[in-house]
Amino acid sequence: MNKSIELIPSQLRRDILRMVHAVQSGHPGGSMGCVEFFVALYFKLLRHVPEPFNMNGKNEDLFFLSNGHISPVLYSVLARSGYFPIEELNTFRKINSRLQGHPTTHDGLPGVRVASGSLGQGMSVAIGAAESKKLSGDKNIVFTLHGDGELQEGQIWEAALYAGAKKIDNLISTIDANGQQIDGSTDDVMPMGNIGAKFSSFGWEVIHLNQGNKLSEVINGIQKAIGRTGNGKPICVIMKTEMGAGVDFMSGTHKWHGIAPNDEQLADALKQLPETLGDYPI
């Protein structure tokens, strides 16, 4: 694997922590857990044109973040891959910013094609975009990301039923299976049972990605999913991650779902994450 891509995750984690620390709000836990997924997608696998950004995305792969609360990791990867200036990360959640608490098209931020935050809606939007691609003969792929807790929303299963029944085989939906949600572990809040079996029974091909915080494994897993598109079934990637991955005291707990680190915690966390690409200026 190209050595330089391995430098990116640490910088994304620094961005995430510095962004949420600056405004003492936001969702670092899920963001940190999905860093390798976003690096794999935006720096390796997605066929996309960051500049100039085109809303219609014809002849591009599209990505929809359905669990919009992990906006810090999306904003970081969009900025770092050229959608907008890295300095703009400093405006996250502040007044008059394009980097709203949850992602939106409303303020014209390049890289965002639909608002998300109210959970469960992104898969339906992605299916519409996938149908749009099929109708116009565009062979590119539509990707989504969902939280495992988000699967408790009923609309997800309306969408999953449609995608399986209508053979939306240009869609790859990845589930961030970190086993956590705001109120606790998914097993405590609402046990999800066998997620893979659920998607299988809805007519999806299911791929298990067991090391979602190992970049090479994520690249391999998503590449495998891409190789399975066009075969009459939508693809579901169940990606095991650790919420808060990359910082010892934040890992594997729901505690950091929506809590920002204080000054001391930030310093402690940043010590564990080398500055590889240069921090954005404050």
Binding site: M55, N56, G57, K58, L62, T104, T105, H106, R113, V114, A115, S116, G117, S118, G120, Q121, G122, M123, S124, V125, A126, I127, G128, A129, A130, E131, S132, K133, L135, S136, D138, G154, Q155, E158, A159, L161, Y162, A165
Partner: protein, 316 residues
């Protein structure tokens, strides 16, 4: 007598179906989605002739609304079809986030609105949909009055870029506007010139307002009947011009008083030119099963009640 003749009773939903078929033939970007009510929405002709541009979602309205938002990405113009109840209240958050806030060019087309849905009863007779939709920033809200106008409005909204809520109904009602007339979003139509009172109506109650006009003119009251088929954006210019002559207003609609056309008119008048107003609308109650005409009478929405409201406002 007013000069409007009933060309024969027709349902406004068929006007939608006919307009959609026309769009299928003339605009290759128009696509349609339906949640298992293709026959009820009169979308069959489009679905049969343009099957590749028609998406049957099954009984899953939330997914349909999300898919419509997604279909705009790539340049298509999606028209969603289901009953008004399932087009609004059931999917309010999906419309709010994925369509309105996201600025998506989706046309939400809603049939079986109001009491005149009839025998199915209050579970399906939504009387709050216009209020729900007009509160959403950037949403255009239209309730045409007959078959011809519904067809014209369906065709017109395809050329407008932005989210639209188009409301129509189930029963066969008088079809009286010109089939040649094109629809202009945001323009109210003065149907009869008058000087004593302004009657503002939309949807099925425009015909009731014209019947009221006939009675009133025979009894020495000159009513200016205006069809306010676009609730948002509201044609304030036409409203104020009429009120500057009459100084008195009656509104009539098949909707709750809270959040409906009368509420918009009242707000515009309060801000610009306060004057006496009476509202013919459902007043904080649910409907019930019955025939459309029986329901309009029982809930105070027919021509007779418009006349009563005029007599009341004339004394103020």
């Amino acid at each position: 007598m007013n000069s409007y003749l009933n060309q024969g009773n027709k349902d406004t939903r068929s006007g939608f179906g006919s307009g959609l078929l026309h769009l299928g033939k003339t605009n290759p970007n128009v696509v349609a989605l339906c949640s298992d009510l293709t026959g009820s929405l009169k979308m069959n002709a489009f679905a049969d002739e343009f099957s590749e541009r028609f998406f049957q979602t099954g009984i899953a309205e939330a997914n349909m609304i999300g898919m419509a938002a997604g279909l705009t990405i790539g340049g298509f113009i999606p028209f969603t079809g289901t009953f008004a109840n399932f087009s609004t209240g059931r999917v309010y958050d999906q419309i709010r986030q994925s369509i309105a806030y996201s600025g998506k060019n989706v046309k939400i087309c809603a049939s079986h609105a109001g009491l005149t849905l009839g025998e199915d009863g209050a579970t399906h007779q939504i009387l709050e949909d216009i209020g729900l939709m007009k509160m959403l920033p950037g949403m255009t809200v239209i309730s045409p009055c007959d078959y011809n106008q519904t067809k014209a409005a369906t065709i017109a909204i395809a050329d407008y870029v932005g989210p639209v809520y188009l409301r129509f109904g189930r029963p066969k009602v008088p079809n009286f506007t010109s089939p040649e007339k094109t629809f202009q979003i945001g323009e109210a139509d003065i149907l009869t010139e008058g000087s004593d009172v302004t009657i503002i109506a939309n949807g099925h109650l425009v015909w009731e307002a014209l019947e009221a006009y006939n009675y009133l003119i025979a009894n020495g009251i000159s009513a200016e009947v205006i069809n306010f088929s676009t609730i948002k954006p509201l044609d304030i210019k036409t409203l104020l011009k009429s009120v500057s002559k009459t100084g008195k207003v009656v509104t009539a609609e098949e909707h709750q008083r809270n959040g409906g056309l009368g509420d918009s008119i009242s707000q515009a008048l309060s801000l610009n030119n306060p004057c006496p107003i009476e509202m013919v609308a459902v007043n904080d109650s649910f409907g019930e099963s019955g025939e459309p005409a029986q329901l309009l009478k029982k809930y105070g929405l027919d021509a007779e009640n418009i006349i009563k409201a005029v007599n009341k406002v004339m004394k103020r």
